[in-house]
């Protein structure tokens, strides 16, 4: 009886935490993506618009990272206690990078000299690069597998650093850059949006290449990953995933082309209809496609790893907390997560529409 209950609970929790981590990846992904685009957007008004477009929501976005970490501690304490020591250096460095990035939101408006502003811009940008890169490194190190003995991490403090993890680090930076560029296509206009469309094309191609490369490498990392994808009937279930990736890539470029045409039409016209253009179904389309690419990649990773939480050996059930702990938090999560999503949606809606460069700064 008890085993049955805990089994279901653990499955639900694995899905909740996977969702929280995914929400973190895409939501802070576009925040970090803006920092990643800073080196190629040099004008102060443009940078101000970029930061303003996420200023009211970035803190909420980053909270999903705390939810992922806190949830892991609460529901999978064994995994939490193994993964974090194993990824000690990248975790700490990522947190420090997020410190720089987070305070820069406030500080770059407080700096009184151009020099000071430049340094906070650098902190924002470098913080974004380092955080994005290390998140990718952690992902790579995790799927490669973690050395465990007696329920504790048994490796050294550099085990996480491998060619594969460095590659996934670069891939995540590129992917975040794509999310950031598509966010700007949605939320900005004129010259900045034109630049963003250009970035989105280059980064879109690079992201697709990274997805292909990581997918090709995955089966060689763990035998279980290979079996998952290349045996029947799994093969039939897995086959649509690459096709969907290709379709979404195509849709991304099509949506960028449509955004080009709308911008050209507007440049020749009166500028009417900007509100409609700011809608998700119009200029928001590339962003949705980029989210879709992240979603598919994430689902692909999930399919490979299932039901492992610490590859190569520890499953979600082996790592799970006491059923009473899972149940206690689930009661709250079931009520509060929908509420959180609702007010998060409300805040996004409140700050909707194109962010203008010519307003707000003096």
């Amino acid at each position: 009886m008890m085993a049955g209950i805990s089994l279901d609970l653990t499955l639900i929790w694995a899905l909740i935490i996977a969702t929280a981590v995914f929400l973190y990846v895409v939501m802070d992904g576009f925040d970090l993506g803006l920092g990643i685009l800073f080196p190629v957007v040099r004008g102060k008004p443009e940078r101000d618009v970029m930061v303003n477009s996420v200023a009211p929501v970035w803190d909420g976005n980053e909270t999903w990272l705390v939810m992922g970490g806190g949830g892991l501690l609460a529901v999978f304490p064994t995994a939490y206690g193994i993964i974090l020591p194993a990824l000690y250096m990248p975790v700490i460095l990522m947190l420090l990078a997020l410190v720089f990035r987070g305070v820069s939101f406030e500080m770059r408006f407080r700096a009184e000299t151009p020099r000071g502003q430049l340094w906070w811009d650098r902190a924002f940008s470098w913080g974004s690069y380092v955080a994005g890169f290390l998140q990718g490194v952690m992902l790579g190190a995790l799927v490669q597998g973690i050395r465990v003995a007696d329920g504790a991490y048994a490796g050294g403090w550099w085990d996480w650093l491998t060619p594969f993890s460095v590659f996934t680090g670069v891939a995540v930076v590129i992917g975040y850059g794509l999310l950031g560029a598509c966010w700007l296509v949605w939320r900005t206009e004129r010259a900045l949006q034109a630049e963003a469309r250009r970035f989105a094309r280059g980064l879109g191609l690079a992201t697709l290449a990274c997805i292909v490369a990581v997918s090709a490498a995955m089966p060689f990392l763990q035998p279980s990953f290979r079996d998952r994808w290349f045996t029947l009937p799994n093969l039939l279930l897995a086959a649509p995933v690459p096709i969907l990736v290709a379709l979404l890539g195509w849709a991304l470029f099509r949506a960028l082309g449509a955004a080009d045409r709308r911008a050209n039409a507007e440049a020749g016209g009166t500028g009417e209809g900007t509100e409609r253009r700011g809608r998700l179904a119009h200029d928001g389309m590339p962003f949705l496609c980029a989210l879709g690419l992240f979603g598919l990649s994430y689902a692909g990773l999930g399919v490979s790893m299932w039901p492992l939480i610490v590859p190569p050996d520890i499953t979600i059930w082996q790592a799970a907390a006491a059923p009473s702990s899972q149940l206690f938090l689930l009661v709250g999560a079931a009520v509060l997560i929908p509420v959180i999503l609702a007010y998060t949606g409300y805040v996004y809606w409140l700050f909707r529409g194109k962010v203008r460069a010519d307003q707000g700064y003096h």
Binding site: A55, D59, L65, L73, T78, L84, P85, E112, Y343
Partner: protein
């Protein structure tokens, strides 16, 4: 020099936690009180319509934004540090402290983060009522966060409602008993009151600083007045709550109280030692200056009450740094008395009609600005150093809680934390002082980003134009 001569991974991990948690708590100690203060100011503005309150609200909102950002980023570090540096604690106590921290995220962090954007940028977008609601939700979020994290901390100090599995894992039996564990109500009240006092002292210091330059500044007068009412009413309450908290500690963690008091011998009619140097090697408090029997009176409510001393416990059960506990306690209590005196002096001067133009009092108030932060830090050092050598009191030793991470890795990360925190939070604090130096004036602007970030095609909701109501009810003294 070989590595064994250097600090162990355990010492480094302890120091790292102490460093990051002390830095972190400075921000929420101010944020929690300031969020409530902002909600009160905004409420008063909505109620009375006086621009004075709105200007004061906007003045502190700018400071709140900077402080909140530093609190958030330093707090995220802690939520992961349980895993990076204390993985055994996480694995063994995760069943219990994990869900408590999970509730902190679900009930508090999302609420604060979600509505902070509305609070900072939304006044021109959502209308007064909804904006006030956002401010209140942020304030409630800060208190909710304190509730859960102090529940987790208090459970580790006075664990109840659990059982221990064969492999040493703590299993929850009764969540009510876990959350409302014996030390929780005292610690929670003590901390929340401390944050209110901390905020009152900072607000009062900034107001006094500006009154020394311009005694007619209406907003500074309002801030000083509110801060001194808070100090007057709350500082004595804090002394009573602190006393009750101490008696609770005596019941559950007598070693900690013995270290706080510098008592080594168990005795009837124990003195209240005011100053001295607890010497663990000699097992005595040297150069002790005390008041006979007063210790027994305070702790046992009788001149002859028996008060256990440190020698009643084996050395491996005693706090590892008795002088630190002893002196931090004296710093906290000493500052607490200064706060009570400040509140009384404020009352006296208010009664004489000289609250705003008594230079010695204003200078004293400026000097007391950081007293709350120092006292809060000292208090946490008392309770955390005092519960050593355990993480989960009496059940899991600190030495057995630490991650299997090599000392060089911990040392390197500690160095990185030290550099980054000093640079980043140093800069942030410097900016806050720049904001403090600006006199609160009429038509206060609020956060610079709060200048309308209008988006195309959207008509702002019925809004509060900049200082629109200042004309309706202008403050008399301007």
């Amino acid at each position: 020099m070989t590595w064994p001569d250097l600090p162990s991974a355990l010492d480094l991990a302890r120091f790292q936690f102490a460093f990051t948690v002390v830095w972190h708590f400075l921000f929420p100690a101010f944020t929690i009180g300031l969020a409530s203060f902002l909600a009160v100011l905004q409420g008063l503005w909505l109620w009375t319509g006086r621009a004075l309150y709105l200007d004061s609200f906007r003045y502190w909102l700018k400071i709140f934004a900077v402080n909140f950002a530093m609190g958030v980023v330093s707090g995220i570090v802690l939520s992961y540090q349980f895993g990076t540096n204390w993985s055994v604690l996480s694995q063994r106590a995760g069943n219990i402290i994990g869900p408590l921290m999970g509730y902190e995220v679900l009930t508090a962090f999302f609420l604060e983060a979600g509505f902070l954007g509305v609070m900072l940028f939304g006044l021109n977008r959502v209308g007064k009522g909804l904006h006030f609601l956002a401010t209140c939700l942020v304030a409630i979020g800060t208190l909710g966060s304190a509730f859960w994290i102090i529940a987790a901390n208090s459970w580790m100090q006075t664990p109840t409602g659990h059982s221990v599995a064969a492999d040493g894992t703590f299993m929850p039996d009764d969540w009510w008993a876990i959350i409302f564990n014996p030390s929780f109500p005292y610690r929670f009240l003590h901390v929340v009151i401390a944050t209110y006092l901390t905020t009152a002292l900072i607000v009062g210091a900034v107001a006094a600083f500006h009154l020394l330059r311009d005694r007619a500044n209406e907003r500074a007068r309002l801030m000083l007045s509110m801060a001194m009412w808070m100090a007057l009413l709350v500082a004595p309450v804090q002394a009573l709550v602190g006393d009750a908290h101490g008696l609770n500690t005596l019941r559950h963690q007598p070693q900690k109280v013995a270290a706080m008091e510098g008592h080594w011998e168990t005795q009837r009619g124990a003195p209240l030692i005011l100053f001295g140097w607890p010497d663990a090697a000699r097992e005595e408090t040297r150069f002790a200056l005390g008041i006979p029997k007063l210790g027994s009176l305070i702790l046992g409510h009788s001149f002859d009450a028996e008060i256990p001393g440190l020698k009643a416990f084996p050395p491996e059960e005693r706090p590892t740094n008795v002088p630190l506990v002893f002196w931090s306690f004296r710093v906290m209590v000493g500052l607490g008395f200064l706060m009570i005196f400040l509140g009384l002096a404020g009352l006296w001067l208010r009664w004489r009609g000289r609250l705003y133009d008594t230079p010695w009092f204003l200078r004293w108030t400026v000097a007391m600005g950081p007293a709350g932060l120092v006292a809060v830090t000292a208090g946490w050092i008392v309770t955390e150093a005092g519960r050593q050598p355990y993480t989960v009191y009496g059940l899991l030793r600190t030495a057995d809680s630490v991650s299997p991470v090599a000392a060089p890795a911990v040392a390197a990360s500690l160095a990185a934390f030290a550099v980054v925190y000093v640079v980043v939070f140093g800069a942030g604090t410097w900016y806050m002082f720049r904001l403090f130096r600006q006199a609160p004036h009429v038509h206060e602007e609020g956060p610079p980003q709060g200048k309308p970030i209008r988006t195309a095609g959207i008509t702002p909701a019925p809004s509060v134009p900049h200082g629109a109501d200042a004309g309706r009810l202008s403050p008399a003294a301007e």
